[in-house]
């Protein structure tokens, strides 16, 4: 009896991962983000939780896109009634809008700090607190040492951390498991309907530990992520009709 080839390969890949230094998550819960083919980029095809993710962006438009994507992931993490902390220097998040991403806005505690060192301290303290679902921190600069500290904190507490880096001065190596770049792309509406559609992003996974980086087009519709096959995008590349 020989198992199908794909099963053998999958098993082999799983065996290789520990050799590459991948530590299995103690937390047994699997987060299904409905990300479609994106999950193949992660080790064991699971979105890493209990880890720190890094997002880089420039400009207010991409800040909104990035926080949108993070909110979508956050909603899945908070589904069991957890609470998250959002730490920022000059916060622009509009709490009522979080509801459309599936997050109860009153379950998010915002900590507004001015000094970078305070943000770093609060981020580390929050990540150590295992009663939380996730911690989001807006901190432009993240040194390797600081990222190591955060990574060590989450390894203990199994809290998921998101670091949003706006206009980072240097993109040096960090100890975060992933580095993402999220940018807005035009929304897609069926049958040339007028108006603006669901949020649509180009999701670039620039780095992922023990995984394969890649680029995808993702839409957030009806409280779920939806992977857009490249064919649909090609369709809508032609100029749109003006509305109104």
């Amino acid at each position: 009896m020989t198992a199908p080839k794909s099963a053998i390969i999958a098993q082999l890949q799983k065996d290789i991962l520990p050799l590459q230094g991948f530590k299995k998550n103690r937390n047994s819960t699997i987060l299904d983000l409905n990300l479609g083919p994106v999950k193949n980029a992660f080790p064991n095809a699971q979105f890493p939780i209990g880890a720190v993710h890094e997002f880089c962006y420039t400009g207010a438009e991409d800040a909104a896109a990035t926080s949108g994507f993070v909110s979508g992931v956050l909603a899945s993490l908070m589904r069991t009634g957890g609470v998250s902390i959002w730490i920022s220097a000059d916060r622009m998040i509009f709490p009522p809008a979080l509801q459309s991403f599936g997050i109860a806005p009153d379950k998010i505690i915002f900590i507004d700090l001015q000094k970078e060192s305070d943000i770093e301290w609060a981020m580390e303290e929050a990540l150590k607190c295992n009663g939380l679902a996730a911690v989001v921190g807006e901190m432009p600069e993240l040194s390797f040492t600081a990222s190591r500290r955060l990574q060590l904190a989450v390894e203990q507490s199994q809290v998921t951390g998101f670091i949003l880096r706006r206009n980072p001065r240097s993109l040096s190596t960090t100890a975060c498991v992933t580095r993402w770049k999220i940018t807005s792309i035009p929304t897609i509406l069926a049958d040339d309907m007028p108006g603006v559609g669901f949020p649509c992003w180009k999701v670039e996974l620039l780095k992922v530990r023990n995984g394969k980086p890649g680029t995808w087009q993702i839409e957030f519709a009806a409280g779920k992520f939806r992977h857009l096959p490249p064919a649909i995008i090609l369709d809508v590349q032609e100029p749109q009709k003006k509305t109104g």
Binding site: V83, D106, I111, L113, P186, G195, Q240
Partner: protein, 500 residues
């Protein structure tokens, strides 16, 4: 346990204070005087003046006749009360219950305190020695009743410590003035030849009442311990309070930390037994120079976790200035609340907003950086975007209404709408182009308008027509026009947010 009281008599309270301020006065006779019925009357005299025969109540002219070189200073009417109050607060290092005894005394309830000094004799000696070092002449006596110790401090001749139950014998040889009586009663007693308490203590009570009234009997009973005497302490002792006196003054940060740790251990142990937790706590440090340094903390939910409270204090400890040393630490919990005994969990769970870890985290942030940096929002029933959510007052508050999701709202909102330049067809079409921060955006898709009216009962102003637009790069914006297109009134386009 029998009660023990110490009464301290500052014989030269005011003149001692003047001598402390002006050391040259120490070697000359001087008096304090104030105007009374058009004459200057002595209100306080120092030791040298009293030895030469100048006494309180004398007219200044007479006093000058006795001592021509007499220095006369103006009396301050409120001085003795202020001095006594300050001294009373300092005496809390000896006992928690200290009461004022104007015009020149203090009463200490020392029940159960003296063994800390190694005995009653050492306790009294320490009080006198410390007062002498700081420049005050004082006499202190200890007895079972306030009345007896008062009498011994002022009129006692040999021993100052009256053994348990011996106050009647000790009082026998004292004059009637030792009973804290009105001067009229004392005069009447003297007139009748009753110059010692032994002469009238055995008399029938009805006879004494008839001749001298109720006050004499009351004072007599209080002195002999047959009647309880109420005491009004300067500082009401708190039920949740721990004290830590130090043998040597503490000057180092490590020392303060150790002291705090010990106090917290004791206090939290007590709180745990009673099922309570700290909401606010206060650490008072009594310094050698009689100043009091204090730091306070507060918590989001009642806690009796020693480690957590210690962490909260840790941020504040650098603010304590030990100067020459701290000799007494007092930890108080002015506000305590019931703690629901948490069941030990076998598995890790996320307790949501009631999680203890979360409350402790927020306490730490509030302690280090400040309370006003933490926000949580609840829906408010307003359509106007800036008013559609309100800050929650505490962690447990639940939303009174549901969050609205019927209209699109941008994930990122500018705190203040920023003006933009727009090309738009009239009357209510979405813009075709807009310029924001010197960048031209060509609009490809748009939704709207959504009109939101000003709530005139809250604020005057124009309505807003909101459009959700997308430019050719796929960025999504929330724009609005403030007001109608109207030549007479001004209208202006603004950008207010960014959609994800």
């Amino acid at each position: 346990m029998p009660k023990r009281f110490v009464t301290i008599w500052f014989r030269y309270l005011k003149t001692d204070w003047f001598t402390l301020r002006r050391p040259t006065l120490a070697s000359v006779p001087f008096v304090l005087a104030s105007a009374d019925h058009g004459r200057m009357v002595v209100t306080a005299a120092n030791l040298l003046a009293q030895q030469k025969g100048v006494d309180i109540g004398m007219v200044i002219a007479d006093a000058r006749a006795i001592i021509p070189s007499l220095q006369v200073l103006d009396d301050k009417p409120e001085l003795s009360n202020q001095l006594l109050k300050a001294l009373a607060e300092w005496f809390i290092r000896f006992t928690p219950i200290v009461a004022l005894d104007p015009p020149s005394g203090l009463i200490l309830d020392v029940s159960g305190c003296t063994h800390l000094w190694g005995g009653e004799k050492q306790y009294l000696a320490d009080i006198i020695a410390r007062l002498k070092r700081s420049g005050y002449t004082a006499r202190a006596a200890m007895a079972d009743t306030i009345g007896a110790s008062w009498a011994i401090a002022r009129y006692g001749t040999d021993t100052l410590i009256i053994e348990n139950g011996q106050q009647t014998i000790a009082l026998l040889s004292l004059p009637p003035a030792a009973l804290r009586l009105e001067s009229e009663i004392v005069e009447r007693l003297e007139k009748l030849g009753l110059r010692q308490l032994s002469q009238f203590i055995p008399m029938p009570r009805s006879a004494l009442r008839r001749r001298f009234g109720e006050p004499l009997l009351k004072r007599l009973d209080q002195a002999l311990g047959q009647e309880e005497e109420p005491l009004v302490p300067v500082q009401v002792p708190l039920p949740f309070q721990e004290r830590l006196p130090c043998l040597e003054p503490i000057v180092t940060a490590t020392g303060i930390e150790i002291a705090l740790e010990r106090l917290l251990d004791a206090l939290c142990q007590r709180l745990k037994q009673e099922g309570k937790g700290i909401r606010t706590a206060l650490l008072k440090c009594y310094r050698v120079d009689r100043k009091i340094e204090q730091v306070a903390i507060g918590t989001n939910r009642a806690s009796n976790n020693t480690r957590h409270i210690f962490k909260l204090f840790e941020f504040k400890l650098p603010g304590i200035e030990p100067a020459l040393g701290i000799e007494l630490f007092i930890l108080e919990a002015p506000k305590v609340e019931d703690v629901k005994a948490a069941q030990e969990t076998l598995w890790e769970n996320t307790g949501g907003l009631n999680d203890i870890g979360l409350a402790e985290l927020l306490d730490r942030v509030a302690g280090k950086i400040g309370d006003n940096h933490i926000h949580r929002y609840l829906p408010d029933e307003h359509y106007w975007p800036e008013r559609s959510c309100k800050p929650a007052t505490d962690l447990q508050e639940k939303p009174a209404s549901a969050w609205k999701t019927d209209r699109p709202r941008p994930l990122q909102l500018l705190t203040k709408p920023e003006p933009i330049e727009v090309t738009a067809p009239i009357p209510d079409y979405p813009p075709m182009l807009f310029r924001y921060k010197a960048k031209l955006h060509k609009i490809m898709k748009a939704d709207g308008p959504e009109r939101i009216e000003q709530e005139w009962w809250l604020q005057e102003g124009q309505h807003r027509d909101y459009y959700c637009v997308e430019d050719e790069e796929g960025h999504r914006y929330w724009l609005f026009r403030s007001g109608h297109y109207d030549a007479t009134k001004s209208y202006q386009w603004f950008i207010h947010g960014f959609f994800a």
